[in-house]
Amino acid sequence: MQTIAEYLPQHPFFAGLPEPLVALVAGCAVNVHFHPGQHLFHEGEPADTFYVIRHGRVSLEVHAPAGSPVVVDSAHADDVVGWSWLVPPYRWLFDARATEETSAIAFDGACLRDKCDTDPAVGYAMLQRVVQVMSTRLHSARIRLLDVYGAPV
């Protein structure tokens, strides 16, 4: 298996990140594995991790006031999960649960924040990428508000 530093440049999230910066952020990362049903994190808990999915599937869930949780999005190979590590008060807004065998790279949020604070080049590069993910999710949430499959064909 490739080392984290070897793998990261191939991941779309890190595409274009200069090699020394990749090596720097890789220093905050470890490989993790989740079985189906296992949680990556729970809503309200401290958001101290950021996940890059290598294989598998993760569902992002919200607890509705009544009834079972609603899956609001899912993440797959080549996706990333979590930006709460970057935004105070650093608490998860969702539950994340593996629905398949899932391999991921977990970044220590405090370590990453530290690197971002110390080196503005790292901070800007990470922010650009995280904002891109947030923008995509916001856009998709807005389109889904239109109930695109609801109207008669």
Binding site: S59, P69, S74, T99, S140, L146, V148, Y149, P152, V153
Partner: protein
Amino acid sequence: MTAVAGAGSRAARPRDPFLPRPFVVRRHRQDTRDTWTLVLEPVDGVPMPFAAGQFTMMQAFGAGEAPISISGDPARPAVLEHTIRNVGAVTRALVHAAPGAELGIRGPFGTGWEVSSGRGGDVVFVAGGIGLAPLRPAVLEVCADRASYGRVLLLYGARTPEDILFGDDLRRWAADHAVDVQVTVDNGQHAWQGRVGLVTQLVERGGFDAVNTLALVCGPEVMMRYAAMALRARGVPPARLRLSMERNMKCGVGLCGHCQLREYFLCVDGPVLTYDVLEPLMARAEL
């Protein structure tokens, strides 16, 4: 654009396009909570050849007529399949037509997907909701001639897992015909283990050779607009991107003007049109 060459057969068509041919409902299957598939046979026994993507005007005697796409296999013109979502008076009467009931059929009408023009390249089907029904004949056509195509992707978005159509077909196309079937839902409960998100996200993930891809899109208009934008952004040429435009129709033969989209009569020039024609029209709110 003109009607697909070879679509329909002069022998099988009544001379008067306004005169419905009687068909008998042979089978009646509930697919989802609001959608049914009817399998019909012509009372006179004469098959009704059709091109994938064409539609008929279906008449429930006494209730009225509605344009409905053909969802069956073009290689089996002896039976006519229609998949209908119950949204109003006519469709309610159609979906409740039990085996043995007689319905009137006019057609087939309109342009087809012209799937064979994609031979030698990849094919991407993008379906939203019941939009999978008009694409089904095209998928069957590709599966029947699978070796002529490269990668084949079927990207399907439904509202909820319960709204997913043709589950058995989806599994068979994936297992027997190497179709890369990817399904996503807008709204999944805890038990749903699959993808949640928009069908456009599946397009963005790629997995096809965009410039050499034939992309066929069918679903509600707003879904098609975003899907077409995502396919264009990946590099699919507008002339190789086709959408089925299902606006209001009455006569089906280019006379009444109900289906007009600027200079196009969608019943004869469409419903399948290429995106180079549609792009400037779809952005205009008043059309």
